[in-house]
């Protein structure tokens, strides 16, 4: 059996930032494992710019952002294994993995950091009726084909779902010479960032059909077209509004799911709302010594926040190895209130806080001129005014350490309150 202080699963933005920070935290014996043939994860196929505005104060492309972290990893001489698949993790922190060079191996770790990211929801997850022809791709798969492998997915493309990857691929396909007839979104608002709506759709005159969905896919061997229908307030198609769009490819950008098969086999508790591990202030899961960060915990819209969160996981895993994390003491729970779908972290052990705690959440609907109200056991302690909030943009608030100490067994809830005009 191999022995390491910290084993990190996944070498995307989360794993890289966690590894670098763990090493800086004074732990030398670290191993990063990834199933891909190179470091950087999904960033390597995200060739568009807009990464790093918070982290590096400049607009980088995905590969550039990745390269900066990869360079840090190499400079710090952190060990990594590529083309390696982790098969299982046990509660006593043994990692079972396999690759072509070492064969099957078991690795005993003092701490584990889960950084597996997420995967895309596919056609099966949203149950679109119709035939099952070739030419239906998730947006990320098409992105990898076009940007890395050099294959074009179609000449006349329809996009379902207005998540960021869908919007970015609509532009990318247009630049590569395809015609994108429209992007349909079942919700009355887009799931992507405004900047992507403007720079990917408006710039190229690609129509966005809000409150629309696909009700039929046609074509025998290759997709020939889709039937698109308007939906009512309950997201049910309205008969009589059907319209046919000819296409030779359909891209799906219909959401991401944190990839937690390994977390589950380690006995980690999963939050039903995030589909990721329940974590505490130190990004530690419900299994002692197993930490998690990035999209495996909850789906982020900015990689900068992934890096930031993962540094927390990295430095706290290092503290754990050095027995510096406080296990007992005051513990609080967070609870999403009205209008909030989830909050991360779910558990706060106040003794481990230094100055303040970043709390991440998503709202359930589009709100303007409203406020986020933080309550301790039902009593309002802080209000933050918000001009505009949408489910597509993650909200982040800093909770002051002073606000949280000296309260034990309490529930911190955050809710949306509409401002009375």
């Amino acid at each position: 059996m191999l022995n390491y202080d910290i084993v990190i699963i996944g070498a995307g933005p989360a794993g890289l930032a966690a590894a670098v920070e763990a090493k800086k935290g004074g732990v030398d014996n670290i191993l990063v494992i990834d199933r891909d043939r190179e470091l950087g994860g999904i960033l390597q196929q995200c060739i568009h710019n807009g990464f790093g505005l918070h982290e590096f104060k400049e607009e980088l492309t995905g590969p550039e952002y990745a390269e900066r972290f990869i360079q840090q990893l190499i400079n710090l001489d952190i060990e990594y294994k590529l083309n390696t698949m982790v098969l299982d993790i046990t509660q006593d922190k043994v990692v079972h993995a396999i690759n072509m060079e070492d064969g099957y191996m078991t690795i005993k770790a003092k701490a584990i950091i889960l950084a597996m990211g997420c995967r895309e929801r596919a056609r099966g997850a949203i149950a679109i009726p119709g035939t099952r022809p070739a030419g239906i791709f998730t947006a990320g798969t098409a992105q990898r084909y076009i940007n890395m492998e050099g294959y074009m997915v179609g000449k006349n493309v329809f996009v379902l779902g207005s998540g960021d990857i869908g919007l970015i691929m609509a532009r990318r396909l247009t630049l590569e010479g395809a015609r994108v007839s429209a992007v349909a979104e079942i919700m009355p608002y887009s799931g992507g960032l405004t900047r992507n709506l403007v720079q990917c759709l408006d710039d190229y005159n690609i129509p966005l059909l809000l409150s629309h969905t696909i009700v039929d896919i046609q074509g025998k061997d290759r997709i020939e077209g889709v039937v698109v229908s308007k939906v009512d307030n309950n997201r049910k198609p309205i008969p009589g509004t059907e319209r046919y769009y000819e296409c030779d490819a359909l891209l799906l950008s219909v959401g991401l799911i944190p990839e937690n098969e390994l977390s589950k086999s380690a006995g980690i508790e999963i939050d039903q709302m995030t589909n990721g591990p329940i974590v505490n202030e130190s990004m530690e899961s419900t299994v002692e010594g197993i930490f998690a960060c990035g999209n495996v915990v909850h789906v982020h819209d900015l990689v900068d926040y992934v890096s930031q969160e993962s540094r927390q996981a990295g430095s706290n895993a290092a503290k754990y190895v050095k027995d510096m994390l406080i296990r007992k003491g005051t513990t609080l729970k967070t609870k999403p209130g009205d209008g909030i779908s989830y909050i991360v972290p779910q558990i706060i052990r106040t003794d481990n806080l230094e100055k303040h705690l970043d709390v991440f959440m998503r709202v359930k609907d589009v709100y303007s001129n409203s406020k986020l109200v933080v309550k301790v056991d039902g009593v309002s302690v802080r209000e933050i005014k918000k001009k505009h909030m949408t489910p597509g943009e993650m909200e982040r608030i800093k909770l002051d350490f002073k606000l949280l100490k000296d309260i034990n067994d309490s529930v911190i809830s955050i809710e949306v309150e509409r401002e009375v005009v």
Binding site: Q44, N49, P63, T194, D202, T390
Partner: protein, 117 residues
């Protein structure tokens, strides 16, 4: 008089702007802050975009190299620039930041590699 409606992308609020050009004088409506005004005028007078794409690369583990324009290029030159980018074919190794096309389409902006390969 020229009028253009647009959505401001300076921050997540996404104000709906109406920008008017009355004989060279710009009036921005719908913005909630000064940055929105600046954005609106720039979008009407000289909108620029950083263009990202790929070029063909040989002798590497991948068949495409990601590239970007080092700064913003005028929005109306995107098509010409993409055509020129599509003609490029290179051999690895290539270093991140290496110039792939100098001063593309006379914009004064270089196209550079956005990864090493």
């Amino acid at each position: 008089m020229e009028v253009k409606n647009m959505i401001c992308i300076v921050c997540p609020i996404g104000c709906h702007l109406e920008v008017k050009n009355i004989h060279g004088k710009y009036i921005v409506k719908g913005n909630q802050c000064i940055r929105g005004r600046e954005y609106g005028i720039k979008e009407l007078t000289n909108p620029t975009r950083v263009l990202t794409s790929t070029v063909k690369v040989n002798k590497a583990h991948l068949s495409r190299l990601p590239i970007k324009t080092k700064g913003g290029i005028p929005k109306n030159k995107i098509n010409e620039c993409i055509e020129e980018i599509n003609k490029v074919e290179l051999d690895a190794p290539i270093k991140i930041g290496q110039i792939i096309i100098e001063n593309i389409q006379g914009t004064g902006v270089d196209v550079i590699a956005s990864r090493s390969i």
